[in-house]
């Protein structure tokens, strides 16, 4: 089939494959089993449940939220790279309201997770008393509600515009009247969306993760969190494109050049993440102040030191050298292996950030870490697959689509 025939296909030709339904059911079922196990774990060891749950929640939220950030970036840069994955990103952003619900179990766990949420700890620590103006229970919950309101609001507005673009095109890629202003209007929404995302994600990272470690603060923390989300979201998206590119209709739409672009983008994100993480380490090391060095001291000794080395190797060195070459980036199979590795490393990184305060001598893996990951992950993937099945797999109404298909 030539490119021109491909560009002339309509919305019906990009209907999601029926196999998505099987994925959805399977994921929801797995998630349900995981949830049952997690609830059992909660009964047996509530403290451990909260610790595991927070990391699992942030892990899955990072994917959906990173997809939101990538979609705003796509609208603003108006590059072809984003059009081919836009529907995947949009489906992920439509799960954000459900993820807000997944936050609810964190609220009763605040006393377990955060020193500043325990009045007896605050009473003994003048530093926490100072921070109480910001770090207190009602404000923490209120802020989280505000973050989600902003993310969901912007995501839904963008998503609605994208759907209108489909309808305007009458489901046809070529030959139908289009409204070029819609592209521009999406940019006008995406710009403040991206700015507010950067701000809210920064403060969310401070609230949820950084404040677990009392007395530690680093101005890079939010930046590194955003960089990590970009890796999470793109790695997940690449795995979805792998699945889609193996079956009609997308098997003919995706080409090696597209994967090459995603490979380059993933490489960029991996390097950026490493740059943020390494800068924070170098500056903390050179400054040698107790507040920062204490954070790293725990993480460079015993089992945590091993995990640190593992993260350096798996989150940076290995993907860096694998993605340096051209061939791997052009094959979705190889690219997906790197993406899967990076998703595992994303969990390790979050665990590395949040867990050492609870077991300073070394990682203490618990079966609840897996159970909560499976619970949220299964339910979330089920929701995601359901959302992905609702629309054509390409934004058929976007004027730039033919160009993107031929890229």
């Amino acid at each position: 089939m030539t490119t021109r025939e491909q560009a002339g296909r309509s919305a019906a030709d990009y209907a999601p494959p029926a196999a998505l339904e099987a994925i959805r059911r399977g994921a929801l079922l797995t998630g349900g089993v995981g949830a049952a196990a997690a609830i059992l774990g909660f009964v047996l060891d509530p403290a451990q449940f909260y610790r595991s749950y927070l990391i699992a929640f942030v892990f899955w939220l990072s994917i959906a939220l990173g997809c939101f950030a990538l979609s705003t970036l796509h609208h603003l840069s108006s590059g072809a790279w984003g059009l081919m994955i836009r529907r995947i990103l949009e489906a992920a952003t439509r799960t954000l309201p459900f993820l807000a619900l997944f936050f609810v179990p964190v609220i009763p766990g605040m006393r377990v997770l955060y020193h500043w949420a325990r009045p007896e700890d605050v009473a003994a620590d003048p530093h926490l008393q100072h921070q109480a103006l910001y770090l207190n229970v009602p404000f923490f919950i209120g802020r989280t509600a505000l973050y989600f309101a902003i993310w969901i609001g912007f995501a839904l507005v963008l998503d609605r515009m994208s759907r209108r673009q489909d309808r305007q095109a009458g489901g046809e890629v070529r030959g139908a009247p289009r409204d070029p202003r819609l592209t521009r209007r999406m940019q006008m929404v995406a710009a403040p969306g991206l700015i507010l995302y950067c701000l809210t994600a920064t403060f969310a990272s401070i609230d949820w993760l950084m404040s677990i470690n009392p007395h530690f603060h680093s101005s890079m923390y939010g930046v590194a969190f955003v960089g990590g989300q970009a890796v999470s979201a793109l790695a997940f998206t690449i795995l979805v494109t792998l699945w889609l590119s193996r079956r009609p209709p997308m098997d003919v739409a995706f080409r090696p050049t597209h994967f090459h672009d995603y490979g380059k983008l993933l490489f960029t994100f991996v390097v950026l993440w490493a740059y943020f993480a390494a800068s924070q380490l170098i500056i903390s090391y050179q400054g040698n102040l107790p507040m920062e060095v204490g954070y790293y001291r725990t993480r460079t000794h015993g089992g945590w030191g091993t995990l640190s080395l593992l993260i350096i190797a798996g989150h940076f060195a290995l993907p860096f050298f694998l993605l340096l070459g051209r061939d791997l980036k052009r094959h979705v199979g190889g690219l997906s292996v790197v993406a899967a590795l990076l998703l595992v490393m994303r969990w390790c990184d979050l665990y590395w950030q949040a867990a050492p305060i609870f077991s300073p001598d070394g990682p203490a893996l618990h079966w609840l870490d897996a159970a909560t990951m499976i619970a949220i992950g299964g339910l979330w993937i089920g929701l995601f697959a359901g959302q992905l099945a609702r629309r054509p797999l390409l934004p058929v109404g976007d004027p730039a689509l033919p160009e993107a298909l031929n890229a």
Binding site: T2, T3, R4, H127, H130, Q131, Y134, P180, T183, R184, I195, C198, L199, T202, I206, H217, S218, S219, M220, Y221, G222, V223, Y275, F276, S279, Q280, I282, I283, S284, Q286, G287, N288, L289, M291, E292
Partner: protein, 456 residues
Amino acid sequence: MTDPHATPERPALISPGYTSGTVTDKISEVVLKKTPRWWYAGFAVAFLLVMMLLYAIAYLFAKGVGIWGVNIPVGWGWDITNFVWWIGIGHAGTLISAILLLLRQHWRNSINRFAEAMTLFAVGCAGLYPLLHLGRPWVFYWLFPYPSTMGVWPQFRSPLVWDVFAVSTYATISFLFWFVGLIPDLATLRDRTKNPAARIIYGMLAMGWRGSARHWHNYDSAYLMLAGLATPLVVSVHSVVSFDFASGVLPGWHSTVFPPYFVAGAIYSGFAMVLTLAIPLRALFGLQDFITARHLQNMAKVMLATGLIVAYGYMIEFFLAWYGDDPYEVYMVANRALGPYAFQFWALIACNILAPQFLWIKRARSSPAFLFVIAIIVNIGMWLERFVIIVTSLHRDFLPSSWGMYHGTIWDVATFVGTLGLFAALMFLFIRFLPMISIFEMRTMLPEAKVEEEPK
């Protein structure tokens, strides 16, 4: 001939009606025709300023760095401010030439050449300052790890030594990138000039370029490889510069977000400088067809985005100063906003954060005169930013008994204005003797160069 891909939303990057021949004529005639009168006037002013720089440097060598305002506690003043300012300006050139090339952003093709030249000259100006600041600049080579009989060895754990390597690598790669990109155009000038002496010089510089397919093939791979090498340098050079500050424990310097925040600031000021140069140049030489409104708009957008990242840096630094509850950090913030340098601080906020917000408005982005004003304001704001970071942190640190004030002297001003003159003089020479827009890259953007695949 019009570009079939152009739409009202995205106008073509070259005004319609050009062919390969007319593009070549238009750009090369700037170099090959008679020198315009304003060029002499402009170069004369710049040259005078260079003389002033030489005078200031000669006096500095005779008297020592005491002629500057630096002393204890403020040992870094205008000199390091200028160093960071100049080196930051260079970053936009590398970003435009290397990163935008790798991102396949073809609009860069008409601005990369003079942006790269700007990088080279800015790095040259920047490099002067640390050398002059050494006090004994004639022993500058002690910074390099050479087998010294005195057993002197650089302190490799100091970011100041990393700076030496970062900046010299940067200067080398920037020069190679610029020169390799020039070779095909130097050959064009060699073939077109009527002046026999110029033909020999351009011919030697063109290194025997004949434009064969093999030449182009080698050229393309060399250029891409240099772009790949230059890309990390955009980030690394200014990150190392930020380590100069962040590695210390001084309040206001020790902040982990410094590297990306400095890099964004560098790109911000660099794009401001590109606009400062591009807007008058296109008007003087009538190059509006090549450096179009779309170019100016894109650069304005980059400025707006990087300006917002810089604002994020200020915001997070202030918030964490409160959050961390360190008395020295809190005092540093209060001292910046309310202390003796409050005017400079608020001026920097107005220049760097408030002024660029006008760029949200499309009409503001489309007016070259307005953009020029904003670009100048950002240039000033970024200079003030470095001044505020350096001076306010040093002048009042942990021990109130060793607090002091800092004021630049006439020699600081003379040196700074002198490097502005040096930069301008080099730019004048560049636009006179070399094509300021890449001729062959512009030709590839013409509609006639776009090959449409025949439907099968």
